[in-house]
């Protein structure tokens, strides 16, 4: 850890952490401790209140709504207990949505990591036009999801689109594949687009982290005869690991909740082949106005994300990334 942290700490005399705690605790008068604690609560209060009002309250209401049969045209809902949840687990569509969501989020996040790290390593080298390349690579990420969706919808068109024309360039007879219009290729196509769209974010994060990797340790590794792979695996990766973990957490949550792209590209179709939680919830809530059923799906997807997030935050704590 950088020395500046100790400076913030102020009155530490020694670097050895274990000495500090008992000494500090003993020195602090009880009243001051209380006052400082209040100050702490006071300082985080705005955040807590905002989270309470904007997230917790609506969440509680949504969970309540998921136990009702509320429709837009049936404004006084009846309590139906777990019926919405039972309906969900008995429907094929629901399981398809769960599977699609996990595939979608899983594959997209893994490839965003690999591509992000790979391009960050490349762009971290010195070459002419480095700044321009960095700016260009980030373009997909700054493109609005809807615009990207429309662009790719055209690219995927079997006859006038660029994807099949590109395949054709390699001497393969034009395949006329309707990438988005075929249930077996649609999910792959939207996943590919999401990887294209999201990788630059990972790249920027990793690039920033790479700038902070100490040249000394890399040189030391060089002197010790480490080859490129060893330097990456034993020196660079451990140093940027905190960034990697945070980035993977963020991209997972974002991808799981990503709506625009699929909505524009396929509307969840063909059939249910690209339906994921956000698009399915939208369909139930805004298109069919089955508010009870829609919030049920919302709660389920929230639980999946929370399980992931809690597990992940525990891992982060264990690895002390958050320190």
């Amino acid at each position: 850890m950088p020395q500046s942290w100790h400076a913030v700490g102020g009155d530490f005399l020694a670097d050895t952490a274990s000495q500090v705690k008992p000494a500090a605790a003993a020195r602090a008068p009880r009243r001051r401790a209380w006052r400082d604690a209040y100050l702490g609560y006071f300082l985080i209060a705005p955040t807590l209140i905002l989270i309470g009002v904007l997230i917790v309250l609506p969440l509680v209401e949504a969970i309540g709504l998921s136990f009702t049969d509320k429709l837009f045209i049936n404004p006084t809902p009846r309590f139906v207990g777990l019926q919405n949840y039972l309906n969900a687990i008995q429907s094929d569509v629901f399981w398809r949505v769960v599977l699609n969501s996990l595939l979608w989020a899983g594959i997209v996040v893994v490839f965003q990591f690999l591509l992000g790290l790979g391009s960050a390593l490349l762009l971290n080298r010195n070459f002419h036009g480095q700044a321009l390349a960095r700016a260009l690579v980030i373009l997909p990420w700054v493109t609005p999801g809807v615009v990207a969706g429309l662009l790719w919808k055209l690219l995927y068109d079997p006859y006038i689109g660029g994807v099949n024309a590109f395949i054709h360039l390699f001497g393969i007879p034009d395949p006329w594949i309707p990438w988005l219009g075929n249930p077996s290729t649609a999910l792959g196509a939207v996943i590919f687009t999401a990887i294209w769209k999201g990788s630059p974010f990972s790249m920027v994060m990793y690039l920033a982290a790479l700038q902070g990797v100490s040249q000394d340790s890399i040189e030391a590794a060089l002197i010790d005869g480490a080859n490129g792979w060893n330097r990456l695996w034993h020196v660079i990766l451990p140093e940027i690991m905190p960034t990697v973990r945070i980035t993977v957490l963020l991209t997972s949550v974002w991808t799981f909740n990503y709506f625009d792209l699929i909505y524009v590209l396929t509307h969840g179709g063909p059939g249910e082949s690209t339906e994921i939680f956000p698009t399915y919830i939208y369909r139930l809530f805004f298109e069919q106005t089955k508010l009870g059923a829609a919030t049920t799906m919302g709660v389920v997807s929230l639980v999946i994300l929370l399980v992931f997030a809690l597990f992940y935050i525990r891992e982060l704590n264990r690895a002390r990334v958050l320190e």
Partner: protein, 498 residues
């Protein structure tokens, strides 16, 4: 390292705690951001029905998210041509068009009237609307009309939230594709029978019959038609038809013959058949079903008829046309078909009259024309109507002023000036079509004979969803009867649940 402390906040809060909190906060915000702001759908679960409106003005959810897609624009017959498509991405979600406050010259307390509409992009229409608004305010100095427009894809979301959340506008346009009935059933809009009964402007016989009828539910009138158009006309590429020696078909048999001759894959295809999961696919198949004497629901909305012979025959016929369409019918929406048409890839495409400007703009050199859609032998084509009705929300405190505004918008000249779709008044509609559209007689005839089958049921959006699944099954190769049976049992459940 683990026991280092930040003494700033006293000894209790270690750096680890601090960062953990920060991290949690960030994660929570991340979750929140993802589930609330950027994605409307995910906002649904966390903010739920009524709570949605107060905490989240429609604007918050809009631009980044559901955004204006070409795919969404066609969702109803009524969506303005390419309006939503091309301009909406850039446009903010819900923005007041004008807020100018004219000087009030006394006379009663000042009333502010909120009017919502979906966003039109045509500059001349916007200017005309602003002028109309000023005229109305000059004539009614104590009323100020505040206009809020929303891109089509978010418009329904915004109205649903507002209607449930308590900040509904006084007057709004709602889609004839089932929204009017749905809002009526939800108890959020007013029946207008008394007001219309007393009106000297709004009379049944000055309107196109289909548009007028789309406002009735359970014996009451819930809206006043503003504009309407019909799914669909048969647009064809005249050069391609000529070189194949084909005349525009008038019957289904002739259509099959023509498509056989016009289909020369992979360079040229017969028709840009719609098939994606969306309302544009549904209104198209509805026109085929109705032209064959079939229906999805009986007129009273109680009996499911989608698996009866006339409807099944139409489905079967539609399925047989897929072989003359390019690959990818399962995901083809209205704008995709328009792209193929203007690219010269397809000989025919079936779309509404609002699409004419798009064809002219995108393919100024292409010789296109349109004809009446073919119908089964001995029958005539029945199109599926769509358009917008003006409704008054129950929450409105100024219902009389609201109706005054509706009456003003129902004036012949105003209708002619401010609409980008065919005005619902037949006199204004005729003038509009003759001035702005190719083949006005064909268009007027389809509008006059069209039906609005989607206003039969307050749960149309759910029925439409079942029909979309049916179409996906059908175009994936399921037998028409099997797909229709499956849809019928789903729709029966939906209808009985009301």
């Amino acid at each position: 390292m683990r026991d280092d402390q930040v003494s700033l906040l006293g000894r209790r809060l270690t750096r680890r705690d601090m960062l953990r909190l920060l991290g949690l906060g960030t994660a929570a915000l991340g979750l929140a951001a993802c589930s609330q702001a950027p994605a409307t759908p995910a906002a649904a679960p966390t903010s739920g029905g009524a709570a949605a409106a107060p905490t989240q003005p429609p604007a918050a959810a809009a631009p980044t998210t559901v955004a204006p897609t070409r795919a969404a624009a066609p969702t109803t017959a009524a969506a303005a041509p390419t309006a939503a498509a091309t301009t909406a991405p850039a446009a903010a979600a819900t923005r007041p068009v004008a807020q100018a406050t004219p000087a009030v010259s006394g006379g009663g307390p000042k009333i502010t009237l909120n009017y919502w509409d979906f966003q039109q992009s045509d500059k001349s229409i916007l200017d005309a609307f602003e002028k109309a608004r000023q005229d109305f305010q000059k004539a009614n100095p104590n009323i100020e009309v505040k206009v809020t427009v929303t891109p089509y894809p978010q418009y329904r979301d915004a109205l649903l939230k507002a209607a449930q959340g308590g900040n509904a506008p006084d007057v709004a346009t709602v889609d004839q594709g089932g929204w009017t009935t749905e809002f009526a059933a939800s108890g959020t809009i007013l029946p207008l029978d008394d007001l219309v009964g007393k009106s000297s402007v709004i009379k049944k016989d000055v309107y196109f019959p289909g548009a007028w009828d789309s406002n009735f539910y359970q014996g009451k009138m819930w809206g006043v038609p503003m504009n309407n158009d019909v799914w669909e006309e048969n647009y064809y590429n005249a050069d391609l038809l000529n070189s194949a020696g084909v005349k525009p078909p008038t019957t289904w048999d002739e259509l099959t013959d023509a498509l056989k001759k016009l289909n020369k894959p992979p360079d040229q295809f017969g028709v840009g058949l719609l098939g994606h999961k969306g309302e544009d696919t549904i209104v198209t198949i509805l026109s085929f079903i109705m032209s064959n004497g079939g229906a999805v629901l009986s007129d009273d909305g109680k009996t499911v008829m989608i698996n009866q012979p006339p409807a099944v025959e139409a489905l079967d016929f539609y399925q047989s046309l897929a072989q003359y369409a390019p690959e990818g019918t399962l995901n083809r929406a209205e704008p995709d078909a328009a792209n193929l048409f203007t690219a010269g890839k397809i000989a025919m495409t079936w779309d509404g009259s609002w699409q004419q400007d798009t064809y002219n703009n995108r393919a100024p050199n292409m010789k296109w024309d349109l004809a009446m859609m073919p119908a089964p032998k001995g029958k005539s084509f029945v199109g599926c109507l769509g358009g917008w009705n003006l409704v008054i929300f129950k929450q409105s405190k100024n219902q009389d002023a609201a109706f005054k505004w509706i009456e003003f918008l129902s004036d012949k000249q105003v209708q002619q000036d401010v609409n980008s779709l065919i005005p619902a008044r037949s006199d204004a509609g005729e003038a509009f079509v003759r001035a702005k559209r190719k083949q006005p007689d064909v268009i007027l005839k389809t509008v006059q004979t069209g039906k609005a089958p989607r206003s039969n049921s307050p749960v149309w959006p759910q029925i439409s969803d079942a029909l979309q699944t049916m179409m996906q099954d059908l175009l994936s190769g399921t037998k028409a009867k099997d797909a229709a049976d499956k849809a019928a049992s789903a729709i029966d459940k939906i209808v009985k649940s009301v």
